[in-house]
Amino acid sequence: MTTPLLEIKNLHVRLEDDPDVEILHGVNLTIMPGEVHSIMGPNGSGKSTLSQVLAGKEDYEITEGEILFNGEDIDEMGADERANAGIFLAFQYPVEIPGVSSMQFLKAAVNAKREFEGKEELDAGSLLKHFRAKAEQINVPFEMLKRNVNEGFSGGEKKRFEIFQMAVLDSVLGILDESDSGLDIDALRIVSEGVNSMRDGNRSFLLITHYQRLLDYIVPDHVHILIKGQIIKSGGKELATELEETGYAPYGVNEAVGAS
């Protein structure tokens, strides 16, 4: 039997600084290699928390349950070790870092992963070649790498650069935290094409989104509805279409039309 790429079992999470606030109340989710899952939910449902917990952000505490990645519990792994093991979080709001060029940043990241894997550092020439190939695949202008990390990037450029980073790092699980937010149709299409170009039967994605729109471009195998820290319904891609028509109202959530 194939080992799931990601297995979340009965996950309970609370804020480290404010232990009275529990955000996730027993989430279960299994992602097999090559699958694309989407978690949809209204604001405040715990979507972003789930993505940050998976990536290893330290503001949260797991009080119950476990997260298995390739069958291994990752609770003790830092964010850097998870990244090097193949988990990639595409940020909803990628951070601008003036003073560090994108090139320098990615070189450091690639070589950190190689060190983690016990491999030799890549020389400058091989790195450049690798970057060029991925830039072409994800449709990112190579010039972007000369700019400082995310500094002055448009919303679309930032999201595209996130996907590019995932390709460069060759991660096996991409968690896209509202990668569609703030994008126009063209930018959304480019980001989606980048993601689709990486679907190869082994690599998996978890798309976290409020709206169904993104799923027109990246078609999921499974859709889950997360409300108030629990997955209350799972289904195929038709569930997203259904949700688009009914909104979250049938699930007891009142949202003003057009809220984001």
């Binding site: 330290e58 964010a79 850097d80 990244a83 990639f88 979080l89 003073g99 560090v100 450091a108």
Partner: protein, 451 residues
């Protein structure tokens, strides 16, 4: 190596007119020394109530019985060479404990450019009096600063530069001051180097003041003054790279006088020293002059790094830009005082001041204060100050790409400083500073950064 004189302490110099006597051909400097003694007598050592020294305690400095260096220390060419700026083609003049060392310096200063006069102040006083006399002390004689008064009272040696009209300097001048441990016959040594840099109309020149030590335990005082005169349309680049012993005291003052359309760019990086006071005091005296004041102070342990800016807009249509950043770790303390004075005649002044600080530990502290004195009515003056820690969101971002936490932090701290390096024209200096910075950052050793 010759033994010069019996040691003379700061108190001797100030109280009893006992500076080392100047040789006959330099004796015309005696009135400046006398003015210094009188001024110090009036000012005295500043106490806590002196606003300009409110955050900097001189008790420990005053407790030392600093003397003038009496012996030439044996410093080898190899020892001096380790302080060369890699890949920089410059002309280097070396001073050891304040005493000029021809044996360690470049033989000739001709590489600086045709028609440029460059020699020790001592030699200039004897051989180029007509060039030097109208300038030396012009910006320092009237002073309310005790260290400036002390420098006037002790004026003796340093570097003299005269750049004739239209001459663009070919190579930068590297003034390397090396401190050793114990040339004062058991007492700590004080040096009062005085540099005078005159850049005539349409000329350009770059000077790097570089303070280093051969002993990290050495206790001494460098009280350095550089007077820069930038004539109309002249461009002057001044670098102060301070990496004294962490038991030493350094007071560095850059006085600059800018005439019409002159452009002076001051870059300061404070890395060493137990107590450092960095004064940058430009006067924009001609229309359309421009002054850049760029600085970085990086403290750890118990270091105290005090930066006092006084930008004087004395003519209309001038622009000044102050960008200072501090990175403070351990129990170190940074001070930034940014004073901008805009005279009534200085209409359409455009002055910007920014001071940003990054605190890396709970015990590090910074005191920052802008001081604006504006007497003109049509001016634009902005100032801003921030103090914070390394942004946790940025650390998480870097870690989520696989970088270990210490590397992520080091890169972010470096990035914070890098903006200041980017303003420096001399790339080899940037590179040197980058590597010095990295070697001082906790756990950042091995971080490779391209500058």
């Amino acid at each position: 190596m010759s033994t010069l004189e019996t040691p003379r302490t700061i108190d001797d110099v100030i109280d009893t007119n006992a500076s080392r006597p100047l040789p006959e051909c330099q004796s015309w400097l005696n009135p400046l020394r006398e003015a210094g003694r009188i001024a110090f007598g009036k000012i005295g050592w500043p106490g806590k109530k002196n606003e300009s020294w409110r955050f900097t305690d001189l008790t420990e400095l005053k407790a030392h019985n600093f003397v003038s260096a009496v012996d030439d220390e044996s410093v080898s060419a190899e020892q001096a060479a380790q302080f060369a700026i890699p890949e920089l083609d410059d002309v280097t003049l070396v001073f050891v404990n304040g005493l000029f060392r021809a044996d360690l310096s470049d033989e000739t200063t001709e590489g600086l450019g045709e028609g440029i006069t460059c020699c020790t102040l001592r030699k200039a006083a004897c051989e180029h009096r007509a060039m030097l006399e109208p300038y030396i002390g012009r910006l320092t004689r009237e002073t309310d600063d005790p260290f400036t008064a002390m420098s006037n009272a002790s004026v003796e040696d340093g570097v003299f530069v005269h750049v004739p009209k239209g001459q663009k300097g070919n190579k930068p001048l590297h003034v390397l001051s090396i401190a050793t441990n114990g040339s004062g016959g058991g007492e700590p040594v004080a040096a009062h180097p005085r540099n005078v840099v005159i850049v005539e109309e349409d000329a350009e020149f770059t000077v790097i003041e570089h303070y280093v030590t051969l002993s990290d335990e050495a206790v001494y005082l460098n009280n350095a003054i550089t007077e820069v005169f930038a004539a109309a349309r002249a461009q002057v680049h001044h670098y102060l790279l301070e990496k004294e012993s962490e038991s030493a005291f350094n007071v560095s003052s850059l006085y600059a006088h800018l005439e019409e359309e002159a452009d002076v760019r001051s870059h300061t990086v404070l890395l060493g020293g137990k107590l450092v006071r960095n004064n940058v005091l430009p006067t924009l005296a001609g229309k359309n002059a421009h002054c850049l004041i760029n600085g970085l102070y990086v403290g750890h342990n118990q270091q105290h790094l005090d930066n006092a800016m006084r930008v004087h807009h004395a003519a209309p249509d001038c622009e000044s830009r102050q960008f200072y950043k501090g990175i403070l770790n351990g129990k170190s303390r940074g001070v930034f005082t940014g004073r901008i004075i805009v005279d009534q005649v200085a209409q359409l002044t455009d002055a910007v001041q920014s001071n940003r600080n990054m605190l890396l530990s709970d015990d590090a502290r910074v005191n920052a204060r802008p001081q604006l004195e504006i007497y003109a009515d049509d001016v634009q003056c902005t100032h801003g100050c921030t103090t914070g820690a390394v942004d946790p969101e940025s650390v998480f971002y870097f870690m989520s790409r696989g970088l270990p936490e210490n590397v992520a932090r080091a890169m972010l701290i470096y990035a914070f400083a890098a903006e200041g390096f980017d303003r420096m024209e001399l790339v080899p200096v940037r590179r040197l500073l980058a590597s010095e910075m990295i070697s001082k950052l906790p756990k950042a050793q091995g971080l490779s950064i391209e500058v």
